[in-house]
């Protein structure tokens, strides 16, 4: 059999596999979840194959890149089937956001600034969903905006999902009265600064083109002084740093933030200085927030995958170097 035939067979197999599961899904198959026993077996297998790679590398045979790729793919996918049973403590940084929301009176206005785009959505989208759900559960009013072009679109995806949930759908929330998406405004941090004077000057219309004054929820919102809490989801510049420097430091806004794991360390100083009421950092922040809000979702699910993927990277660095040092010694002995 030529390689070509094998490849074609593989593609066909993937297609058949996908079709079976797709038809299954449409006809109502349940999602798979590993039992504890299976999960342990899978983890052991993953670890064993790492050891096997270590052994091979020490013997001087570099693992092919396709094998490395396959391993990464499998290692990241497997945990998605597992159930995260271990209890996670909720850190103070995360509780800070949760408590701030719980303290708000029903009817308070919450500004959600979505400053991220699809590539960072795996980390930030679960935060957005949990936060929006929590606000609706608490009967808070939501005003969405973004200084990243795709932020408000991401927010709409989250809104769509949350509004479809039975508990929230039962509230019969209305656009313009209970929540509003003001859309994107170009101008980076200057948008925040101008909003300190007037929201309307920056958002003449909302996302769908409705004039600002025709939206009952924001008609009387002049600037930050009419906002009770602000939550910023950020994956870079402009983002939480700018929100702290302008909205918090100049206009006294109460601000909580959700950041990507990369961004979070740069924001920690603001948390300890009290300029942020709380901070959700990366996937673990999202997971903890879901636990706090008692709504386990994607954050909790992804958490395990993320930990595994991190361990894989660390393991590869170790394998490469252990093998390098050991083979180096051997050649030194020979020489």
């Amino acid at each position: 059999m030529t390689t070509r035939t094998k490849e074609l067979i593989a593609v066909a197999a993937i297609l058949v596999f996908a079709l079976i599961f797709y038809i299954g899904r449409v006809s109502g198959w349940q999602a798979t979840e590993f039992s504890t026993g299976t999960s342990i077996v899978v983890v052991v297998l993953l670890l064993a194959s790492l050891l096997w790679m270590l052994a091979l590398t020490i013997r001087g045979r570099l693992i092919g890149r396709r094998v490395v790729f396959l391993y990464v793919g499998v290692a990241v996918a497997m945990p998605l089937f597992m159930k995260l049973s271990q209890e996670m403590p909720v850190s103070l940084a995360v509780l800070g956001v949760y408590d701030a929301v719980m303290e708000l009176q029903p009817g308070s206005k919450v500004l959600i600034a979505c400053d991220y785009d699809p590539p960072t959505a795996p980390e930030l989208q679960p935060m957005a969903e949990t936060f929006i759900r929590l606000c609706f559960q608490r009967d808070l009013k939501i005003i969405i905006m973004g200084i990243w072009p795709q932020g408000p679109q991401q927010a709409n995806l989250a809104l769509e999902k949350i509004l479809a949930e039975p508990e929230i759908a039962a509230k019969n929330l209305e656009y313009g009265i209970d929540y509003v998406n003001l859309g994107f405004q170009a101008g980076n941090e200057f948008v925040i600064q101008r909003m300190g004077g007037s929201f309307k000057s920056m958002f003449r219309t909302d996302y769908g083109g409705i004039p600002y004054d025709d939206l009952p929820l924001v008609r009387n919102v002049r600037n930050f002084s009419n906002i009770d809490y602000c939550f910023n989801l950020s994956s870079g510049f402009p983002g939480t740093v700018e929100w702290v420097q302008i909205a918090v430091d100049r206009y006294g806004v109460k601000l909580g933030a959700g950041n990507t794991a990369v961004q979070a360390p740069t924001v920690y100083p603001y948390l300890s200085a009290g300029q942020l009421t709380g901070l959700l950092g990366g996937m673990s922040g999202a997971a903890e927030f879901e636990i706090a809000a008692d709504a386990r979702g994607k954050g909790t699910k992804y958490m395990l995958s993320q930990s595994v993927s991190h361990i894989v990277v660390i393991a590869f660095v170790i394998i490469g170097n252990v093998a390098f040092i050991m083979s180096g010694r051997r050649s030194a002995l020979k020489g």
């Binding site: 798979t32 998605l80 990366g282």
Partner: protein, 238 residues
């Protein structure tokens, strides 16, 4: 119909996702097809965005429409439009004029005129960033490095103090030796070379830190895609 589109969208995104992933195995027709779609669609996307945002939103609304209306009115003897208000900026014609000169490339005989807008762009980029980079990279960073190496403000206990002193000293030495490494005028020999080598050490630690810092977040992107394939598409996971 809507139901059909729902299925179509799910399969389309899955097809494209797998097409890109197939590149990890090797270059193949599936990847080539995905790449062709990606290049064609996104090039079109960006032109449309550029056209509406920059040409229409900035030039046409800001100057073009008004000027043309005015000229047409003058030529036809109709009533001229009201005098321009503050939203009209005739300077924008400079940009449009230079843009038109750029298009002269298409005419081989006078194609060399397109070097004018090119010179304009290079001149303005150079001029604009020269002081900006100098101020925010050189001046601000130098100023930020002028910190006390030890001070009563660091704390009273010896260990706190030691931490802070070492930290301050490292920042000072690192910045200094790093700059020595970048010196072009002297060969890296002797004491100078030794300092430059220390500078390289610091640069390497910086690169290591950047690597460790960025790598982790890259992994979460993959999780999102796998979740799409196994969850949203195939429904194997919740």
């Amino acid at each position: 119909m809507e139901a059909f589109f729902e299925h179509f969208r799910l399969w389309l995104a899955a097809f494209l996702t797998l097409g890109i992933f197939s590149f990890l195995y090797k270059d193949n027709p599936w990847y080539k097809l995905t790449e062709a779609i990606f290049v064609g669609i996104s090039a079109g996307y960006w032109f449309v965005v550029l056209f509406w945002d920059n040409f229409h939103g900035k030039f046409w609304v800001g100057a073009g429409e008004y000027s043309i209306n005015w000229v047409v009115a003058k030529l036809t003897g109709a009533q001229a439009p009201p005098p321009p208000d503050s939203s009209i900026d005739f300077m924008l014609w400079v940009g449009a004029f230079l843009g038109l000169l750029m298009l002269l490339r298409l005419v081989p005989k006078i194609g060399w005129i397109s070097r004018w807008p090119l010179a304009f762009i290079v001149g303005s980029t150079g001029g604009l960033w020269l002081i900006n980079y100098f101020a925010s990279n050189v001046m601000v960073q130098a100023q930020a490095t002028m910190v006390p190496l030890f001070s009563s403000a660091f704390g009273t206990g010896f260990d706190q103090n030691a931490d802070a002193v070492i930290g301050a000293l490292i920042i000072f030495l690192g910045t200094f030796s790093g700059l020595v490494y970048f010196f072009f005028s002297k060969a890296h020999t002797g004491v100078f070379g030794g300092t430059a080598r220390v500078g390289v050490f610091f640069l390497m630690i910086t690169f290591g830190a950047s690597f460790g810092y960025t790598v982790m977040s890259r992994m979460s992107l993959l999780i999102g895609r796998i979740d799409y394939l196994l969850g949203d598409w195939l429904g194997m996971i919740k």
